[in-house]
């Protein structure tokens, strides 16, 4: 068991993180909850979500204590019902009347800051460690600047993307609090540019590779190689093959870059009271885990999914730590009001990722 340990050379104590979930155990939880969700026509999904979150938080141990997830299933259910209605309305109106897309775009842009704040706050307030809750305090204006203005700037001018990413991470981390104390991250912009530049080079290499591989496969007519077994591939398959190779490649580069940026953002974060966060995951290792997980999930028609999640969590959590000699007993919860789940669920449906 990883626990707190003072360093012999007198430097600050390191509190390790570990994930204790097991694939076979989570598999049963996952499949039973999935079946219950299906049998209840989706109603149980809110309870399933809470149990899944509880499993992952509760098996994440920092300095001998687990995290906890507290959200109430019925709040999630209400949020989900509202989100689903909106999502279906959005999808149908856009396919039938493509020109309503502009209107939806404006509505979503205006709602985005609210969605970001309420989604992040919902998750923070429902998370605790050692009986002390997290909190999040971003304002509408700040979220508007981060998620609308900076995102638009990055879309308009691609070289701004790394800075936008930093703005998002600053917004996310610097408004988080634990037991009334603030998290703060700060790092020079050039370090994030180096990571993105590296990612850009990888992407260019990948596009070239994707086209070459697709071309070679089609050219070879691989059924000839496999002697007798006909795998029909022709010029028409060039695009699908390139698409799949490119998809796998971008998954690889994406996880690689995200890991390095997370190391940067989390690794430069301090918590008031004399604590510093540590994040040392290897980008290559995470990318390998994500890619091989995806492959195994497809191969097993989804059955590997729970094992994949546990495998990734186990590696990621092991690479986080908290360093510092501050008093862990000194934290105490602020008075917080409960938060509804509407924003969180809408963000989930539209697949807006707020967070790291």
């Amino acid at each position: 068991m990883t626990d707190s340990a003072a360093q012999p050379d007198g430097s600050a104590a390191i509190h390790g993180v570990e994930f204790r979930g097991r694939g076979a155990e989570y598999f049963r939880i996952w499949i039973v909850n999935l079946a219950l969700t299906l049998l209840t026509l989706g109603l149980y999904s809110a309870w399933a979500k809470v149990r899944t979150q509880r499993y992952f938080y509760g098996n994440t141990i920092l300095a001998g204590h687990s995290f906890e997830y507290h959200a109430k299933p019925w709040r999630i259910l209400i949020g989900r019902a509202i989100a689903l209605t909106l999502f279906v309305g959005y999808t149908l109106s856009v396919v039938f009347f493509p020109f309503t897309f502009g209107l939806w775009f404006l509505i979503l842009a205006a709602a985005m800051p609210w969605l970001a704040n309420s989604s992040i706050r919902f998750n923070a307030r429902n998370t605790s460690w050692r009986n002390v809750r997290f909190d999040f305090s971003g304002t509408y204006f700040e979220a508007f600047m981060a998620y609308v203005v900076w995102t638009a700037a990055a879309l308009a001018l691609f070289p701004l993307a790394p800075l936008t990413r930093r703005v998002h991470d600053y917004f996310y981390i610097n408004h988080h609090r634990f037991g009334g104390r603030s998290f703060t991250t700060d790092f020079p912009g050039r370090r994030i540019y180096v990571i993105y530049l590296f990612g850009f080079i990888l992407i260019v290499a990948m596009v070239v590779a994707a086209l070459a591989i697709a071309g070679a496969l089609v050219e070879l007519h691989i059924h000839k190689l496999l002697g007798g077994v006909t795998i029909p591939l022709g010029p028409n398959d060039f695009a699908p093959i390139a698409f799949v190779v490119f998809g796998l490649g971008s998954l690889f580069v994406g996880s690689f870059i995200t890991t390095l940026v997370t190391n940067l953002s989390i690794g430069n974060t301090t918590l008031e009271g004399g604590f510093k966060l540590v994040s040392r995951a290897s980008g290559l290792r995470v990318a390998w885990i994500v890619l091989s997980n995806t492959f195994l999930i497809l191969l097993t028609l989804g059955l590997y999914y729970p094992f994949a999640r546990v495998r990734l969590a186990r590696y990621r959590m092991r690479k986080y730590a908290v360093r510092g000699d501050g008093d862990l007993d000194a934290f105490a919860s602020e008075a917080l009001t409960a938060q509804n789940a509407i924003g969180e669920e809408i963000a989930g449906f539209f697949d807006f990722g707020f967070g790291l």
């Binding site: 939880i29 499949i31 039973v32 149990r51 509880r54 687990s66 029909p232 028409n236 105490a332 449906f349």
Partner: protein, 370 residues
């Protein structure tokens, strides 16, 4: 009276904690004592909130003042709650989640339900919705689609008025024998541009034919077959059904899987591609069969459609024709042609009409008859 439960006591809303033990009093109170037996807290059972058992997670008892008792001893916690007469829900879910036979049963339920939802219920729901869709919506959608195609792909027609009149006459003749009747369809001429020799139907009954397709036609029955095929798409509102399926599928997946992020994203995209193309292959087969029936009603042979299909195929893909492939939305041309030739002898029995998504290959870019 059960044995005291070993654990930790957290002071109200604080991270500070001491080793402690919990027990039930005779009057249904939860009592927390430290190691020396000093009472740290006591609360009525009904005001205590305990977490439901889940795998090996630490069990927690939240007291009304923000204090908390927690223990790793899940069996002990269940025993204590039973004494307090507070053990209700939650235990059942946990038991289900532990048992491998239940897991296997759940996997079977998931597969069966998945099959039912995506192969049976979804197409049925989409068809029902497509039939209920008001004509105004179908009309607006068709107009906007055609406008978008005109801007990005299609060109103005270069067919001479005489050719147009001839095509229009054949179209009217086919419409009279098709499901919707003469007034239900409208023929529109366009230059195909990148789309090449092709014809497709829009939900409001508009059938677009490209000049390139017209130039490939060798006899009337061929183009009448194309028209009849497209009219069937209109009659069954196939395009609307596809729209509904495309919107229902991701929404359903999000509900059941709970999130659209990371790993699930990849797994969500691939099946949806396959399922969608399976649905539309079913539509193509239905349109072929209806087209054959219309041709027979007009006194023509459906095998003309087969020949035309094969000729178009060679035109688009070269001498050997388009090879069947894994992804795409049209059945393999050879299989379609063979089926159409059998239609010469009369309709193929309904037992063979069902959706057979995995049987035939498909070609993504050989867009003969859309």
């Amino acid at each position: 009276m059960t044995a005291p439960l070993e654990g930790r006591y957290f002071h109200p809303n604080a991270a500070r904690h001491v080793p402690a033990r919990a027990s039930a009093t005779a009057d249904r109170m939860l009592r927390i004592e430290d190691e020396s037996g000093t009472v740290l807290a006591q609360a009525a059972a009904r005001s205590v909130k305990s977490t439901a058992r889940l795998a090996r997670l630490t069990r927690r008892f939240d007291l009304p003042d923000g204090a908390r008792f927690e223990t790793e001893d899940n069996d002990g916690a269940d025993a204590l709650l039973r004494t307090l007469r507070k053990l209700r829900h939650g235990r059942l879910t946990d038991r289900l989640e532990r048992a491998w036979p239940v897991a296997l049963l759940s996997a079977a339920i998931t597969l069966a339900a998945g099959y039912y939802f995506f192969v049976q219920a979804m197409p049925m729901a989409a068809e029902w919705l497509a039939r209920k869709t008001v004509p105004l919506v179908a009309h607006t959608m068709s107009e906007q689609t055609l406008r978008a195609l005109d801007r990005f792909a299609l060109k103005d027609t270069t067919l001479k008025p005489a050719e147009q009149a001839r095509a229009q006459a054949l179209f009217t003749r086919t419409a009279a024998h098709a499901g919707g009747g003469a007034g239900a369809y409208r023929l529109v001429f366009r230059g195909g541009g990148p789309i090449g020799p092709n014809a497709f139907a829009l939900p409001d009954g508009t059938v677009v034919m490209t000049d390139e397709l017209w130039k490939e036609v060798k006899n009337d029955a061929e183009v009448e077959g194309v028209f009849a095929h497209e009219m069937s798409h209109v009659d069954h509102a196939h395009q609307l059904q596809r729209v509904y399926e495309a919107s229902l599928f991701p929404a359903t997946l999000v509900i059941f899987t709970g999130d659209m992020s990371q790993v699930s994203q990849m797994t969500a995209i691939l099946p949806s591609l396959i399922v969608e193309s399976a649905y539309s292959r079913g539509f193509e087969q239905q349109a072929d069969d209806d087209g054959a029936a219309t041709l027979r009603a007009m006194g023509e042979h459906p095998s003309h459609m087969a020949e035309f299909l094969e000729r178009l195929d060679k035109k688009v893909c070269g001498k050997t024709g388009c090879p069947p492939s894994w992804l795409g939305d049209h059945p393999d041309t050879a299989a379609r042609a063979a089926r159409l030739r059998r239609e010469d002898k009369g309709p193929i029995p309904a037992s063979e009409d069902c959706l057979k998504p995995w049987r035939s290959g498909i070609s993504l870019h050989c867009l003969a008859f859309n």
